[in-house]
Amino acid sequence: MDFQLTADQRALRQGVRDLLARRFDREALRAAVDAGGELDRDLWRALGEAGFFALRLPEAEGGVGLGLPEAVLLFEEAGRALLPGPLIDTHLAAGEVKGAAEGEVVVTAPYGHFVEHLGDADVIVRADKDALNGAMKVRSVDPLTPLTRLSRRTPYPYPPEAVLLTAAEQVGTAARTLDLAVQHACERVQFGQPVGGFQAVKHLCAQMLVRVETARTAVYAAAVTGTAVERAAAKLLADEAAVRNARDCLQVCGGMGFTWEADVHLHLKRAWVRAGRGPSKAEAEEELAAALLGDPA
């Protein structure tokens, strides 16, 4: 047993982090917000070139030939950077939809009552021909995720890999909001000391770390084992970690966190939107409960 990142996996993660720092820095993020989540096609192609979409495509088919454990590392970084776009749908479409692997096309797909980034999408998958009949763009709570509301719930289930990759993105948000909270707590001085010196702030941050570590472990484990029940656990814990950490980050940052200029609200809103993908909390819990009546662990 070696349930630790390999050297290759660590290098992969660092590579993506560096790429995103270069190609999607804070300035680019705020520009994307101002653009209402409109996609930067150059960036999309850069992601394609870096293997973001082709990661799990066999090498024989021009892909990188890696697996879900590597994919969750990528999507955690995407979540951390608040990278916009139907990343998961395009990633899943690599090898199926021409140009997806290379980042030449943007692929989206309906889930539940919504399609994300419909305006920017070149291809829509998992949709029958009249899926978009009567669909209406809504004023999305997440400025980085344009949402179109379907006239009826899509009958296609959210793919299992998409559930897991969404959970990985949530871990990215949980981790990043912890970083933001810690940074603020070390820098902001009130009552003559950094607010991070106060136990109440310390303990908020400590619990945020506990959530990150737990959710990340669940996501990694689900990526390695690929079982439905571990995936449900990963989704449940990662949704909770992302939403609660973003909330706690806001609390730590106080008034400053409540401004539009602070990034924390972008994480919170994205975490809400991601939690709406795939099984709900209740559905995940039901799946996990049912598993208890099977063979004892």
Partner: protein, 380 residues
């Protein structure tokens, strides 16, 4: 990143299983919890069996993963717990192994591994709980002895222990000697005159712990491990590194209990309440992940030889809370049976209340995580 066991690890597991299947049926009956000599005898018999089979010193002779497998399999097989041998095997022993002289190691380690000698721990004091370093039990040098006076609390197995790993103050606290600097580690023979042990009843009604009163107890200077006044460091060497295995058996046991609670819910109809069902599902996610987190920490220890104890704080924060939730949920499922002390889960619920307090309260653990992992400043 994988969760598969190597062929060597699988072989270790198979041999262990075979051995457990062979020897467990021959074990004597479990003694009554109030029969301390009986419990000592039972626990030391088991330790001797482990010794004879080569499983006694896993801390040093096995990899962290093998250690995890050992704890997992013994828990699943219903083998005895470490019990009275806990302090010797997991605290005093490792301290002596790391900091003792060759003579001290020769004197004390083999009897621990063979189950010949039982140790208890004299660290906490009535006035020094979370703030352990403020301990006051005093040791005064008198020739080749220390003369020790004071009192200790939360001393498990004190009634039947042969030795006590004792922290004493050898230099008073002054502006020049901060509290961590005047502490010394001693091995105190429990048959020395001047020791009084009084059972301490917990809210669960049990007397797992004791108070220990020391009235001019003479301990040979030769029993000191490490230098005089260096006892805090000596102790922390052991306490601050671990292999991620501390809660393996407990997590396995909690997962089994959770499945039992689910089956009980199914039987008594509470399963039909979606709120109960989902809470059970939530706990499944919790304990499944705590198991994976254990495997993560053990894998890290396997790579690095041991991990800083602060990682254990993250685990303990989550685990202690989940354990309390588990038994609260069990009580909800049980309904009227939850008020009956003859139901195991009722007693377990009571004892689970200590998990956010003992061995560092959740508040202390959060300080540790915030300051040592996240780097937040110490406050005023």
């Amino acid at each position: 990143m994988d969760l598969a066991y190597t062929p060597q690890e699988e072989e270790f597991r198979t041999e262990l299983r075979e051995w457990l299947a062979r020897v467990l049926p021959g074990l004597p009956e479990r003694p009554d919890p109030l029969d301390w000599p009986g419990r000592r005898a039972y626990d030391t018999t088991w330790q001797r069996m482990l010794y004879d089979a080569g499983y006694a010193d896993l801390q040093r002779e096995a990899t962290p993963t093998q250690h995890l497998i050992f704890l997992e399999e013994t828990e699943r097989a219903g083998a005895p717990y470490v019990g009275a041998n806990f302090v010797g095997l997991l605290h005093a022993g490792p301290t002596i192994a790391a900091e003792g002289t060759p003579e001290q190691q020769e004197r004390w380690l083999p009897p621990i591994l063979r189950g010949d000698e039982v140790w208890c721990q004299g660290f906490s004091e009535p006035e020094a709980g979370s703030d352990l370093a403020s301990l006051r039990t005093k040791a005064v040098r008198d020739g080749d002895h220390y003369v020790v006076t004071g009192s200790k609390i939360w001393t498990s197995h004190a009634e039947v222990a042969d030795w006590c790993e004792l922290l004493v103050r050898t230099t008073p606290v002054t502006p020049d000697t901060p509290k961590h600097k005047g502490i010394t580690w001693l091995a105190m023979p429990m048959d020395a005159p001047g020791i009084t042990v009084r059972p301490l009843r917990t809210l669960a009604g049990s007397t797992e712990f004791a108070e220990m009163f020391l009235d001019e107890v003479r301990v040979p200077v030769a029993n000191r491990v490490g230098a005089e006044n260096d006892g805090w460091r000596v102790t922390m060497v052991t306490l601050s590194f671990e292999r991620g295995t501390a809660f393996v058996g407990e997590v396995v046991a909690c997962r089994r209990t959770l499945a039992e609670v689910a089956r009980e819910a199914r039987t008594n109809g509470t399963w039909d309440d979606p709120a109960v069902r989902r809470q059970l599902g939530r706990l499944n996610a919790e304990f499944m992940t705590l198991w994976r987190l254990t495997q993560w920490n053990v894998s890290e220890a396997q790579k690095t030889g041991g991990v800083p104890g602060v990682g254990g704080s993250v685990f303990k924060l989550r685990y202690s809370h989940a354990r309390q939730e588990l038994y609260d949920t069990a009580a909800e499922v049980l309904g009227p049976d939850a008020f009956d002390l003859d139901h195991d889960w009722t007693l377990d619920r009571l004892s689970s209340l200590s998990y956010t307090i003992a061995a560092g309260t959740s508040q202390i653990q959060q300080n540790i995580v915030a300051e040592r992992i996240l780097g937040l400043p110490k406050g005023r």
